[in-house]
């Protein structure tokens, strides 16, 4: 007796074989798309690392750039790392509190129309090109007060603000209303409810947003070109001076003729990519942790 004679699962017009082939095909296309993304990242990291390999040493982090023209001397990017740390740090200090306050207002206090308006504004702000923000800060601060790390940090904070605010709004929305009701039900005013019950639930999520925003702006070049690029030689810590930063250093060094400078630019790019990768991984870890915490509270 042949096996194909009768099968309880077989019906005449199902064309099961064809459907299985289509399914496989779609799966393959999706897999290829995902593989392509990973492949591109791999190629970028690999080529950046390879080209910067000659400059990747301890000197990179301990020595400052040497003035161009003295091409026999090999320097490092210590001045740029210090500058990026200060500029991004200041930008975070400006954007984080303001972003959190905006999010609290929007999610906990604002009537629906204002909520919609502010969210839209944040989306538009997030879409403004970085170079435009650079020019804006240039005309606002730099024309009168000159370049400084403060001006650069302000430009970056304008970029960070919508990110911080949007992610914070999203985490606040995850906190179940039953918790707010519980707090209001014992006679707590709105602000105590927000500070004492809602915010502690969301700190992990807010930090995740902050870390992602930092990762996002740490590599920004355009806003800094206008506001914080005419750095002096040597490593400086004073934010009222224009400080050298990694993206600007890469931008300038890649323009030079001698290969040591170009290698330095590649090495700086490699460190930047790695730092952002680590920040993103850290943010992911924080995000899963905080989501689990909120889940437990609402379960």
């Amino acid at each position: 007796m042949s096996a194909a004679e009768f099968s309880p699962l077989q019906r005449p017009h199902d064309r099961l074989r064809w459907r299985r082939i289509k399914n496989r095909g779609m799966e393959l296309v999706a897999w290829l798309a995902a593989a392509l993304a990973v492949f591109i990242l791999g190629v970028v990291v690999w080529s950046v690392a390879k080209k910067g390999a000659s400059a990747l040493s301890l000197d990179l982090f301990t020595k400052s750039q040497v003035p161009s023209g003295f091409s026999t001397a090999t320097g490092g990017l210590a001045n740029a790392f210090v500058g990026t740390l200060i500029v991004v740090g200041l930008a975070t200090l400006m954007a984080l509190p303001l972003g959190i306050l905006i999010a609290i207002y929007v999610n906990e206090f604002a009537p629906r129309t204002i909520k919609r308006f502010v969210t839209l504004t944040l989306d538009v702000l997030a879409g403004v090109p970085a170079i435009v923000i650079g020019i804006f800060v240039f005309s606002l601060i730099v024309i009168t007060h000159g370049q400084s790390a403060y001006a650069g940090a302000f430009a970056l904070s304008v970029l960070m603000l919508p990110f911080v605010a949007r992610t914070t709004i999203e985490v606040l929305a995850l906190v179940p209303d039953s918790l707010r009701e519980a707090a209001l039900g014992v006679g707590a005013p709105r602000w105590r409810t927000t500070l004492g019950i809602v915010l502690p639930q969301t700190i992990g999520g807010i930090l995740t947003g902050a870390v992602l925003a930092v990762a996002r702006v740490a590599g920004e070049t355009a806003p800094l070109l206008w506001t914080c690029s005419l750095a002096q030689q040597g490593t400086h810590w004073n934010p009222s001076l224009p400080l050298q930063t990694i993206p600007v250093a890469i931008f300038e060094l890649s323009d030079q003729a001698d290969p040591t400078s170009q290698a330095l630019a590649w090495a700086g790019a490699f460190v930047l990519i790695m730092a952002i990768l680590c920040l993103s991984l850290g943010a992911r870890w924080l995000a899963t942790r905080s989501r689990r915490k909120i889940m437990r509270a609402s379960g």
């Binding site: 707090a183 039900g185 014992v186 006679g187 707590a188 005013p189």
Partner: protein, 296 residues
């Protein structure tokens, strides 16, 4: 065992005399209530209408709530029971599209008025919710948080013990007050929520289906609590469980859904009386249909 023996062992008296076969038996051991004019009014609600957006959820409710009694609100799903109870402590203020008309006099003061601070209302009129919602803090902090917010910072540990004892939870948690409240069982969490509500010494405690997410044993514990705590507090309890209303309530309000000519629906107070009367001799046909299980 024969049929007759079985019915005897079940011990159910068959009375043909009662006109209504109530699906629910009211516990008879309760004390008879004094006449209503001798009871002290906590709430005097007049023509309360509650509207979400443009849809009325509740129309023209007028009733009183009396001190140191348990008042149950029963009715089918969607009849506005929860909306009603949430009006009593201004919890609906949190819903953006919500509006209400009519007056809710609380010891004579209209708390539905716009100039009344809802925080002050909720401070004296506490609430226990349908799903246990302890704060994600320790058991002790769940009780003390409200106390601290309200400035009742003296004798915190005594207040915690008292509230937890009143909520019949003290013996179960006294050795682990610092443990997370989220590690408690559902029934324990709900009793913790009751402890949290009564710790701040409210006048009234509103309960929105407090046992609907709990198993029968936890439910029974909460019902026993109501019997004991009503010496000190006034309770308004929403329940979809008629047996529960019959067991715990002194007064019962029956809400139902009315339909307009164009198919719109709203909740309405059909009948409000002593629990025994509602379940054995209701004066409205719709109440009778509901309590005998023919509808709802």
């Amino acid at each position: 065992m024969s049929q007759s023996e079985m019915s005897q062992t079940r011990g159910e008296p068959v009375s043909e005399s009662s006109t209504i076969e109530a699906a629910v038996r009211v516990e008879t051991k309760r004390q008879p209530l004094p006449p209503r004019e001798r009871l002290h009014q906590v709430f005097d609600i007049q023509d309360l209408t509650a509207i979400y957006g443009s849809k009325p959820a509740l129309k023209d409710v007028s009733m009183e709530v009396y001190k140191n009694l348990v008042t149950a609100v029963i009715g089918p799903s969607g009849c506005g029971k929860s909306t009603f109870i949430r009006c009593l402590n201004r919890m609906n203020d949190l819903v953006p599209s919500f509006r209400q008309t009519g007056t809710i006099r609380y010891h004579g003061q209209d708390i539905a008025a716009k100039d009344v601070d809802p925080v002050a209302v909720r401070r004296t009129i506490g609430m226990v919710f349908q799903r246990p919602n302890p704060f994600p803090k320790s058991i002790q902090d769940n009780v003390t948080w409200g106390l601290k917010v309200l400035g009742m910072k003296d004798n915190l540990s005594e207040r915690v013990e008292r509230a937890l004892t009143q909520a019949a939870l003290w013996d179960e948690v006294k050795d682990r007050l610092k443990a997370s409240a989220l590690g408690l069982s559902g029934g324990q969490q709900q009793r913790l929520c009751i402890a949290r509500a009564i710790a701040v010494e409210p006048d009234v405690v509103l309960m929105d289906e407090p046992a609907s997410a709990l198993d029968p044993i936890a439910t029974q514990k909460i019902e026993q609590l109501l019997h004991e705590l009503k010496q000190e507090y006034t309770f308004v309890i929403v329940t979809h469980n008629m047996q529960q209303a019959a067991r715990v309530a002194d007064m019962t309000a029956f809400f139902s859904i009315s339909r307009g000519e164009e198919g719109e629906r709203w909740g309405e107070l059909i009948e409000y009386d002593e629990t025994e009367k509602i379940f054995t001799a209701p004066s409205d046909k719709r109440t009778e249909d509901y309590v005998t299980g023919r509808f709802g």
